[in-house]
Symmetry: C2
Subunit: 241 residues, 2 copies
């Protein structure tokens, strides 16, 4: 079976190998929003069966996929972005030892790289990727990582800055960063990256419009060398220009 | 003009939008190894002109591309992996303010995500990306970032671990990590990721086969929860499995 990364957006952000894997599949399993996306892709899906799941049903979804593959079906599990980054590759591989199933992970564009391309070139130097979801990770661990990332002068990408239930952590993290980094540090926010209604906001650490950040936003915070010029967020690599 | 990410490998790792951008271009500019790759893609390139450059000519390449685009030509600059990660997006955007040219960055799969997919799911939790190239970055900055990444218990991806001229830094960094992390920490090395002769090595921090690591290798070092089982390198997200 294959765990297939859809990338951040529509069909155009799929890799060719991801598209091929979907075309070969008999059964496509995923979170309902992504199943809807795949059903609207241009290639013919009339011969395929779709199984859609609600949010937070990752383990149930992974077991269903492995059980279905055990019955001899060609299964593709879809995951937005890269399935290997806070996605479905982990739980499926963790469970796969109980099955005699070969699992192939097909990587996809993850939100940090896709959002960076919309903003300019903010990830041109060393960067960290941190999820603010504290469902599975203690918030103290998250805060310590943010602190170490600031001390190392990394560019920082924040995934899952908010959810419907989780509203305050993002502001807490930005307040922590304001103690550790220049208030003028460039910040880029990308909403609905590579999807309809995509929107990019360029701002600074002390001026973040908190209400604009939602569960479909990715936030990139520069390092000490980053700058915004002519609506582009750039972290220089160090070339003599 | 477009700066187009080729991803790590052959045509199958291109995104569909990247392929479309190459097909639309009249002139394709890049490092000679990647120009050779593009010339071998399946789509018809007989109507296109190719301009190839040697290594370390990034600024020359960027200026040539911007000058050519200024003449009204449809230009695509190709960059391996993601052009926004240690790639061509940065220098081109930095220089573009001197030209009246609209630059679109088309993201590609970067080595960390692609290599992770070959190894299993090592990037399922917060991770850092660090280049060991000290051509443009003081080695003390690199060492400090590695130290902070270890203190934050991030998964660590090392880009450019070695080059022909640069052989010792990689071992110095691993020795630093051995002071800060468990010697049993899982490590994955991917050589020629998604290309012919791809090879994956699974090992631990204290057992790294230094001679196997070369300039076409990506090295992923786990966090305190990472493990290797049945030839898969997994960093658990924290789900109850």
């Amino acid at each position: 079976m294959a765990v297939v990364g859809l990338g951040p957006g529509g069909e155009h952000t799929l890799t060719i190998e991801a598209k091929n894997a979907l075309q070969k599949a008999e059964i496509i399993i995923g979170y309902k929003t992504y199943i809807k996306l795949v059903k609207n892709f241009e290639f013919d899906t009339s011969d395929k069966k779709f199984l859609e799941f609600g949010m937070k049903k990752e383990i149930e979804r992974a077991k269903k996929a492995l059980n279905t593959a055990s019955e001899g079906k060609k299964v593709a599990v879809v995951s937005s972005g890269d399935p290997g980054v806070y996605g479905m590759a982990g739980p499926i591989l963790e469970l796969s030892k109980h099955y005699n199933i070969d699992v192939e992970v097909i990587p996809g564009l993850t939100a940090s790289n896709a959002s960076a391309s919309v903003l300019g070139a903010p990830l041109m130097h060393d960067y960290v990727t941190i999820s603010l979801s504290d469902l599975l990770t203690p918030f103290d661990v998250i805060k310590n990582r943010v602190k170490k990332a600031a001390e190392g002068d990394f560019v920082i990408t924040l995934y899952n800055p908010k959810s419907n239930q989780r509203q305050v952590q993002f502001q807490t993290i930005i307040e922590l960063l304001l103690e550790l980094k220049s208030h003028d540090t460039p910040v880029g926010i990308v909403k609905n990256c590579k999807r309809p209604n995509e929107r990019a906001i360029l701002t600074t650490l002390s001026q973040i419009p908190y209400d604009e950040v939602d569960m479909l936003s990715t936030v990139i915070i520069g390092n000490s060398q980053s700058y915004i010029e002519l609506d582009k967020f750039i972290t220089p690599r160090g070339y003599k220009i």
